[in-house]
């Protein structure tokens, strides 16, 4: 018990505490982004397409990402002649801000949280919608028709898919009885499946419809293929990112892939049991659910679950062709939203009568 207290509840002044939390937040955002970009975007897609992918930088091309960052940092910071300079410069920061705010509510262990908000998942969904503003700002300020069209498509798409995302999570919240992410993890650990508590009750068993809708909506929120109309390269060059180069492009790039990871963290917390290992492991080790070392094991468990979910994201990304704009909107409004409302009604009925 004491070790965890010494490590995570040090008697620091609040500013030192804040600085340490900030550093950890940067690690949580950047490190998994680098890992998944190398593993999935560089290597997995290469193997799916029967090629090797980057092989030159470092052993097996593993330093490729650092080379890319170095390349982008050296590039000229170009502003289009007619661009609105202030808004153009600010837009990538807004997107990245939303990513960081999203990261701070994810719990990684019994004490290993950045901030244990009572509104937890609601806060996460709220700040995730801020990134749309950055995308629209980028699309408008670039003074380019491609960018503007990309920004408009992004706004329409993100608004349409935010609703199923929120409604899919409502089922989990009803079942767990709390919005707090730590509380949702505890509810899954203490849950039982037909009286068998060895696996807990990860909500992808009972909320499988919600899980499906969540994954689809996340794919759309991230504007990954098949929902990549906003940056459709064959029509819009690169959508709202067309005019960006160098460091600002890098920020959009980081924002895109880091947000994919953090949504995967969120999905792991909501549907796969979070940082907690299956409860039968507690019995094997003879420890209780809030064992201090879960503060160290938890991030590893979360990383594994996150890699699993991001694998699905990239697998779908490199498998499916792109939706047409009207198909995309119809899919959200006429299929996903009614389905998620049905899921909420059924979950509520089970909650009340069972």
């Amino acid at each position: 018990m004491m070790l965890a207290v010494e490590w995570f509840w040090l008697d620091w002044p609040w500013w030192a505490d804040t600085v340490v939390r900030l550093i950890f937040a940067i690690v949580v955002v950047l490190l998994p982004a680098g890992v998944t970009v190398y593993l999935y975007l560089f290597k997995m897609v290469s193997f799916m397409q029967s090629r090797l992918g980057p092989m030159e930088a470092g052993p097996y091309g593993s330093m490729q990402l650092l080379a890319e960052v170095g390349k982008n940092l050296q590039k000229e910071d170009i502003f289009p002649a007619k661009a609105d300079r202030r808004v153009f410069a600010l837009a990538p920061y807004v997107v990245l801000l939303s990513t960081f705010l999203l990261a701070v509510v994810i719990p990684f262990g019994p004490q290993a949280t950045f901030i244990n908000l009572d509104t937890g998942v609601f806060f996460a969904l709220a700040v995730s919608s801020v990134s749309v503003v950055g995308v629209i700002m980028a699309g408008w300020a670039s003074a380019s028709k491609y960018s503007l069209l990309g920004g408009l498509r992004a706004a329409g798409q993100l608004i349409a898919y935010e609703l199923p995302l929120i409604l899919a999570v409502v089922g989990v919240v009803i079942q767990a009885g709390t919005l707090n992410l730590q509380g949702i993890v505890t509810a899954q650990t203490e849950g039982e499946i037909f009286g068998f508590g060895g696996l807990g009750n990860p909500y992808f068993f009972t909320q499988f419809i919600g899980f499906f809708i969540f994954l689809v909506a996340v794919q759309a929120e991230l504007t990954q293929v098949p929902f990549d109309m906003p940056i459709a390269e064959s029509e819009l060059v690169s959508g709202y990112m067309t005019e960006y180069s160098g460091f600002r492009f890098l920020m959009f790039f980081i924002g895109e892939f880091a947000t994919a990871n953090i949504f995967a963290f969120l999905g792991a917390t909501l549907f796969l049991g979070g940082w907690q290992v299956p409860p039968f492991v507690h019995d094997l080790l003879g420890v209780d659910a809030n064992w201090q070392y879960f503060n160290l094991i938890g991030p590893g468990v979360m990383l594994a679950k996150m890699l699993l979910l991001t694998f699905v994201v990239y697998w779908v990304r490199f498998t499916f062709p792109r939706f047409r704009e009207d198909q995309l909107q119809k899919f959200a409004w006429k299929f996903l939203i009614p389905l998620s409302l049905l899921n909420i009604a059924v979950t509520g009925a089970f909650k009340v009568w069972l």
Binding site: P13, D84, L117, A126, G139, W140, L152, I159, E162
Partner: protein
């Protein structure tokens, strides 16, 4: 233990704030209030309609920050989700579909702006007077607690159930009205 300001956010029990932390919170409030006032003034004086929308976004964010200072976490998250994530995005979307010139719009002036200014000032006077009358020099209790989401839910669905349902009906009516107006056939 961690500093008690953080604990106040994290724990379920109200924890008294030390004068030092109250000072930090008060300073933070004045900073965000100043940002909000500047952004509001810029919003009505800027010559570009998209800039005006973005300044309005800053004002709404400041309102959310004020809710956090007051310990109303759920209201703050709702403010971000509804106003920033939905209303402002739709507003920007609409502006961009119709008129989104870069640079000065030039004609962004309105003849009845003095009437607007007058109504804003009188609104401010009425709100300020009534708030001052109602609360005066009341101070928040020293054990100022963070408002729990559960408490919000309980008060909405017990004490305020009638206004809540009335508002829901109003919004539903507005929604149906919008669909009827928008449909051409």
């Amino acid at each position: 233990m961690m500093s008690s300001a953080l604990l106040a956010i994290q724990s379920t029990n109200p924890i008294a704030l030390t004068p030092n932390e109250l000072w930090v919170i008060n300073t933070f409030f004045y900073v965000i209030a100043a940002v909000g006032i500047v952004a509001a003034l810029k919003m009505v004086t800027t010559k570009n309609v998209v800039h005006a929308a973005l300044y309005l976004l800053v004002v709404l964010t400041v309102v959310a920050a004020t809710y956090i200072v007051l310990g109303a976490e759920f209201a703050a998250a709702t403010q971000v989700m509804v106003y920033i994530g939905a209303v402002m995005v739709l507003l920007l979307f609409g502006v961009m579909l119709t008129r989104a010139k870069i640079g000065d719009d030039g004609d962004l002036d309105y003849d009845s702006k003095w009437i607007g200014g007058l109504s804003a000032v009188s609104m401010f006077a009425v709100m300020g007077y009534s708030l001052w009358e109602a609360f005066g020099t009341d101070e928040l209790p020293a054990d100022m607690a963070v408002q729990r989401t559960g408490q919000v839910a309980n008060s909405i669905f017990s004490q305020y159930i009638v206004p809540f349902e009335a508002l829901s009906m109003l919004l539903l009516a507005a929604l149906i009205g919008a669909v009827v107006v928008a449909r051409r056939d």
